[in-house]
Symmetry: C2
Subunit: 224 residues, 2 copies
DNA sequence: GTTAAATTTGACAAAATTGTTAAATTTTAT
DNA sequence: ATAAAATTTAACAATTTTGTCAAATTTAAC
């Protein structure tokens, strides 16, 4: 592996490149298991356990590696955080593509999206909140969407408007429909500790409630 | 003012007592403007600007006071954070009481709640997220609701069920109705940076969308 | 106005956290 | 098997952040 150097120290520069654009250099060397290990551990700490401000030591301990390996592979703590965030963004886009791209009927698209989200939320309950807090911290970090996604989103909005004409969903600006849908789906999961406290529900009760969300949302969103 | 001492240092112990239970000692001495100033500055930093991890120095600077006054008045950084959190909890309860206590018809109760929340969100957009992250951090901090609130909440649920019988709202477990309502109201505000990015909306567009939320929510929630 | 109490300040200590470096170890290619 | 490259480690330096203390200043009471 090629070694870059800066003021005499060595870095796994190759890794930076490789992992930034996996398509170009996809030769998986045995060594970057550590790289993956660290980034996955960080992801788990952030998304699973909600430790949004984990120190490098905490991350290293959780991963069972030497702390300075974080510097070796990611240059700085911040760079690691950013990387996890970027992966999160990609996942967001994947999700959005899913709902927008397939040519299923609207209702099935939405069902698919609900299932996908709820499944993911089981493993990563704090994903959305982490993304949010990072965004707040970094004070704007504009997503630049690909043109074809924008185009498909437009197309999806038209589909929604058609449904509204048919009367299967309430008439409103498509974006408002999306906000309703997304809110009812994500909020109860993302804000769980907040809501569970506010409504004084125990874990079992809340799990049950979440499991019923899919039907409730569909019933609320579709008028038939 | 009585001074407590610990290892020779002096603390405004009286303040701790006074502000913990304002009813008992409500003699507002001129000096605790500083106390209030610090706590309000912290609140603004957290709720307005989303600086959830502000250092004591940052808070002190924003308040224009010496950093160590935070130790003098609040003992530790953590204690200050907890205090802000506790005030937030009280506000949550106030809000819940509002919706549950009044004997307005359901629809007006909900409208009142929406207005109240949206107004508050204008000054404190990150309030809910701060509360959430604190809860996640502290790993559970059970609200202990007063009995009469629980009672009134039950009563409110019965009212909801009556509306469902009448057919003005969809039939579903009352808690699910509440989750729908709360989600559609809070999520678009609390997750604004997240959503604004995802849907690629500029500030003006998003403001407009928020201003339309009230009508949209009511339309979605009431079937007539 | 003087005194005592309360508040504010700056200097300092302690702790926590990150980043650097060179040396040690492991892996890979020949 | 050996040499070069890559990885890991531990010691160290630098920085950031919190908390303590005693002295200085301000305020309130008499």
């Amino acid at each position: 592996m090629f070694l870059g150097s800066k003021k005499g120290s060595t870095f796994a520069l190759d890794n930076f490149v490789k992992h930034k654009s996996q398509t170009i250099m996809s030769i998986q060397k045995k060594e970057d298991v550590t790289y993956e290990l660290i980034i996955n551990t960080a992801k788990n700490l952030f998304f699973k356990e909600g430790k949004f401000n984990a120190t490098t030591q905490e991350i290293a301990d959780a991963a069972g590696v030497n702390r300075t390996l974080i510097n070796y592979y990611f240059r700085s703590r911040n760079a690691l955080f950013d990387l996890v965030f970027e992966e999160g963004k990609k996942e967001d886009e994947r999700r959005q593509r899913m709902i927008v791209m397939s040519d299923l009927p609207i209702r099935e698209k939405l069902e698919l999206f609900i299932d996908y989200f709820l499944a993911q939320a089981k493993t990563y309950p704090y994903r959305e909140v982490y993304m949010l807090t990072q965004m707040i911290k970094d004070e704007f970090c504009v997503y630049d969407k690909k043109e074809h996604i924008k185009y498909m989103t437009q197309k999806f909005y038209v589909e929604l408007e058609e449904e509204m004409e048919k009367g299967t969903i309430q008439k409103m600006p498509p974006i408002q429909f999306m906000l309703n849908f997304i809110s009812m789906l994500i909020f109860p999961v993302a804000m769980r500790p907040f809501l569970q406290n506010n409504f004084e529900l125990d874990d079992k009760e809340y799990d049950k409630i979440i499991s019923e969300r899919k039907e409730v949302i569909l019933k609320t969103v579709f008028t038939n």
